[in-house]
Symmetry: C2
DNA sequence: ACCTTGACTGTTGTCGACAATCAACATATA
DNA sequence: TATATGTTGATTGTCGACAACAGTCAAGGT
């Protein structure tokens, strides 16, 4: 009767800590994850650490090299390029599904978020911009109300999230304003209930965002982060589906 | 110098065994996975079993109930319905990407597979039909050459595979022939390099296949497998992405 | 100088045991 | 009888220890 929120399991706590550390850039791509070290950091035994790492591996955030050593995954430019059409396709599907169901109130909510992005940008609060951007897309993903779609999008966002957060994307240029404009266009098409228009605009918006990001990311200047393509990428799962 | 293929790790072996057991229907939906029992079956300690189960959990094949007990996931009809537009969207994207790259030789390969499906169907070898069907789609997924897309599709197929395999889908009716016809149409549009046509036909093919499947699956007669919706579905991950 | 050999180290894989949790049942008390 | 309390069994969570394996380095032989 006293303690409401029980502490999450060790595995969950470690998973979340590592996930945040990776996506926030504290653990850089290519960085090794040594169970013994983590054991000291978290003051637990290796068992829950191993399980947490397995989960990160399933997320694609951690990869195992030929010697079974674990590393933070290093996204290549190609990985990111690959993600563009997939995410564009899934987000536009979400928008399409949402069009029929979305209420005026929810569109207003989106409008409010878009204004908040504007304000955060004016105030120079770029991490808030990032968070609000995710919030914007989460709204119609929720309206679309499709678990499989939600899962698919989350999987992609999770595995590349750190790139967004660790990047300079949300700073110092006119990228946010154009994103805000595109959001406004999307809202307009939601209001008109024009499914094809919604779909097209969301698809293009996602493509634009990712391509803009790609242009100004480190990829174009120095290629890749450390560890090039030396470490296996996800897709080495045991089964052959 | 003597042993070429080293034995996979315990975790991989257990993962594969359980994966196959679940998708083949040997472990029925709702069925509990008790570590102690599996320990006896596989003659290993609980550590690798726990890790394998974590992976299955990440795949969405195993869910954890409120009392932390592990169960084979029970897909609801809604889950399957949710998957239809997502898989249709992703497969048609794969087809679109493949259209530009696919060679005449590869189209011929697809044609060959389609004929093999026909033969297997005539011979009454339905499980071969299923396998060849997957092979057909794998071809242009491979041609599309997009790791992110491959990952997304595999994730969906993995989590619902058992339904296909455990079902009566590939038996006793005219569903296969119409699938073969649709494949032929897809091939034709690949040959014409008409991207929009390819995209549309693949999308419709996937939608048709899944809807036909849905119609004749157990869902329509007795609703759901045991355990209804009592057990949490995937999506209860610790983080809030 | 070059190659082998063997010991040492760092790291992961696996194990058996103990602790914690919860359901189910039994027992006690009003 | 009904409610509260204790006990037991089943199951999962966590731990510390050992085994296995690759990499490094130094000693020794050719």
């Amino acid at each position: 009767m006293t303690d409401f929120r029980k502490p999450k399991s060790m595995v969950d706590q470690i998973y979340i800590s590592l996930f945040n550390a990776i996506t926030a850039g504290a653990l850089e791509p290519g960085c090794r994850l040594v169970e013994q070290d983590l054991q000291k950091d978290f003051e637990v035994s290796r068992a829950p650490i191993r399980e947490a790492i397995r989960l990160l591996e399933a997320d694609g955030l951690v990869v195992v090299d030929a010697y079974k050593k674990k590393h933070v995954r290093n996204l290549t430019r190609e990985d990111l390029v690959d993600n563009i059409p997939v995410l564009a396709c899934l987000e536009s599907l979400a928008a399409r599904l949402a069009t029929a169901k979305i209420t005026t109130k929810q569109i207003d909510e989106l409008e409010g978020i878009n204004q908040e992005i504007q304000q955060a940008f004016s105030a120079g609060n770029f991490s808030k911009c990032a968070e609000l951007n995710f919030a914007f897309h989460r709204v119609f993903l929720k309206v679309a109300d499709n678990k499989a779609l939600h899962r698919a999008i989350r999987s992609i966002v999770k595995s590349t999230l750190w790139l967004w957060l660790a990047s300079q994307y949300y700073k110092n240029n006119a990228i946010i304003p154009s994103s805000i404009e595109e959001h406004a266009l999307i809202l307009e098409s939601f209001r008109s209930k024009d499914v094809r228009l919604v779909e097209t605009r969301v698809r293009e918006h996602i493509e634009n965002v990712l391509e803009r990001f790609l242009k100004q990311s480190k990829f174009d200047t120095e290629g890749i982060y450390q560890f090039g393509g030396a470490i296996g990428q996800p897709g080495n799962e045991p089964s052959e589906i």
